[in-house]
Symmetry: C2
């Protein structure tokens, strides 16, 4: 097995000089065990926000190329300081910007995608026993322009480096112990998972429950990189995100989530003719509104109803986009309900175990919790329910699918 | 004449968002006149100091490579913000790190020297009408490691770019109007010079009176770049630093300076044998102490006395270095006098005009100002006098050499 280990520390872990020293000590302990270490770091604490504020004082709409030039300095400060901290405790370390280790991306500033990584320089330093500290979140395009990778970018850098270097695994350090069956703040009985598949992790991430950003998980899945989510506050084993076929006992349900910041919007009394739904979702997509559950039904008189969920914060934007359509059609009504929650169960085992949806519906019905909308994928079932009963329903389903920790 | 103009703005000029906007407006006015602009900027205000403090919290002796990685972010923030400010007022601009415009240096971290600049990328952007904003103070070595150029580094970047691009001139913006005949805070009659030669500027810089760092002037002299020192607060002509043969009327004396932060150290009663002076100045050089005026005299009994001036802040260091020598010789005494000032007159005209030194000595003698030490170069005369009479002597010499402004 490869001796190369990639470790990623987020902005909180390197938030101040003391924390940077603590991270350095952790790295030292792995270095002493004989690992060849590549460490990816984010910008310190709120640095990125501060840089964004600074830019806002100068321009309301700064060119993305220049924003990337600006924001990439945050990670550059972190890598230099961490390399100094390692040097101070006798660990040979070198810091590298994304460009210096040839993380080449497309030219899509502020949301670039990694196209290639040339590992020659890193390998040469690893062979010399150096810890390589790499700036997360950044790369360069074909013309050496600095690019950034968008949200969760440092995770993506870490996973991409692990893939390119064929590392044994990619450790992502966070402020939680790993991935839980559900939010432990909402359900006391939640427990940490030892492992989870890429697809389950992706579903959880899209439900806002994941500690990892979707893009890094997609990358890991594509290149078969084991992601190990661990706490930066202790040395416990965390949760390994792995390929589905490495998971021996496939749970029917791995995790359950509750999303309470969505609203349901209903477009009623619209003419039932082809292309209406497309028109609606084109408008919403242009406004970059995240739609989750969608239900369409035909009533009497050939009049249609389309309901969908969207973030509460996008309701106004959505209305502004849809009202002109209704005027154009000469028919239709818009109503919204913010008192909803989306309850979801995720698990690769659903593919082979039937009856998961039925168990969920039955359990909710027995408690008189009304299901207003349903949406399913191969490994996920989502139910829209009343927000007032959200937490109760979450606890119920957690228990029903056998996720409560042993007491 | 080339349409390319290099402009350099220091840290004070880009100290906050409002000042950055002001600099952008100035650049716009030149852009509208049809110049092709390359703009070099330093880090904002106290950014560099803040980064140094941050490093000090982590390491007492950070590796220089990592310090350069850290400090270079300061300029990177400035260039991005200035490019945004230009974009905001409709001027097409692109920011570039030192590495992105191929400013290649040696590998001497924290004090690197520029070895080459490949101007292809800059020329291509200039031809497209873009203002090119380049980070001062930084480059990359052959292996793409980030290097910094040491004190006055941004001036050097600007001059080097002007040389490489064959620019019409290199404007250096400061908080003063240009180069004065002497410090206007000390001598009211001081006036701004229209032009000054490289060698005169170098002498003034080494006397601590120049607004430019020596290295940038040396660079300009070597590549025949006209440096134009201007104020960032108005649009007046400043002072042009040019080749001596471009100066038609060579003044006997161009500027006079008074340096009051030096002390005189005297090593007395030392054996007169070869190599003693070398030993002394080797020790001082190892401790990186700046020596200015040196006088050696042989007394009776073949015992020598060596006097020299050094910064007051280096007196303790010098003593620590010299005391072991005296122990080794078994002879010698050290005494210091901090109540001195070094009065200097600088001018290329001295080469062809005789009697400059004599005029200076005579004027001082007439006012009963005692000259304690004398040192001369081809274009400079320095006299060590009592500090108490420094300002009086400065005004006197300024008048004697006809430098007082017309009233």
């Amino acid at each position: 097995m490869s001796k190369i280990l990639v470790q990623k520390f987020g902005g909180t872990s390197v938030g101040d000089p003391e924390r940077i020293k603590r991270v350095a000590n952790r790295i030292k302990s792995y270095h002493e065990k004989g690992y060849q270490l590549v460490v990816v770091v984010s910008a310190m604490g709120h640095t990125t926000d501060e840089l964004v504020d600074l830019a806002a004082k100068i321009s309301t709409n700064p060119p993305k190329r220049e924003m990337d030039m600006l924001l990439s300095t945050g990670e550059q400060v972190s890598i230099a300081l961490l390399a100094m901290a390692l040097h101070e405790i006798g660990v040979p370390a070198r810091s590298f910007t994304g460009g210096q280790v040839n993380i080449v991306t497309d030219g899509n500033f502020s949301n670039a995608r990694i196209e290639s990584i040339d590992t020659q320089r890193l390998n040469s330093h690893l062979e010399q026993g150096h810890v390589c500290i790499v700036a997360g979140f950044q790369g360069v395009d074909q013309n050496q322009n600095i690019t950034t990778l968008g949200r969760g970018g440092s995770d993506t850098t870490a996973v991409a480096l692990a893939a390119a270097l064929k590392a044994r695994e990619c450790e992502i350090y966070t402020d939680v112990d790993g991935v839980y069956t559900t939010d432990p703040n909402k359900v006391e009985a939640a427990h940490k998972l030892d492992q989870i598949s890429y697809d389950e992790m992706l579903e959880l991430a899209s439900l806002g429950a994941g500690v990892l950003h979707s893009r890094s998980v997609e990358f890991a899945k594509k290149y078969d990189v084991v992601i190990h989510v661990k706490s930066s506050f202790n040395y416990n084993e965390g949760t390994k995100v792995v390929s589905e076929n490495l998971i021996m006992e496939k749970l029917k349900v791995t995790g359950v989530t509750l999303k309470s910041d969505d609203a349901r919007m209903t477009i009623g009394d619209i003419p039932d003719k082809p292309g209406i739904a497309a028109e609606i979702f084109e408008v919403l997509s242009e406004k970059r509104i995240n739609i989750d559950v969608i239900v369409q039904s035909t009533g009497k008189d050939k009049l249609n109803t389309i309901s969908f969920t969207l973030p509460v914060s996008s309701v106004r934007d959505a209305k502004e986009g849809l009202e002109p359509l209704i005027q154009k059609w000469g028919a239709g009504t818009i109503s919204t309900d913010e008192n909803i929650a989306i309850l979801s169960a995720v698990g690769v085992g659903m593919k082979s175990h039937s009856g998961v949806a039925a168990s969920m519906f039955k359990a909710l019905a027995e408690q008189n919790i009304n299901i207003e909308m349903i949406s399913t994928s191969e490994i996920k079932i989502s139910c829209v329910i009343s927000q007032d009963r959200g937490k109760e329903a979450l606890r119920l389903i957690h228990t029903v699918f056998g996720l409560d920790k042993a007491t």
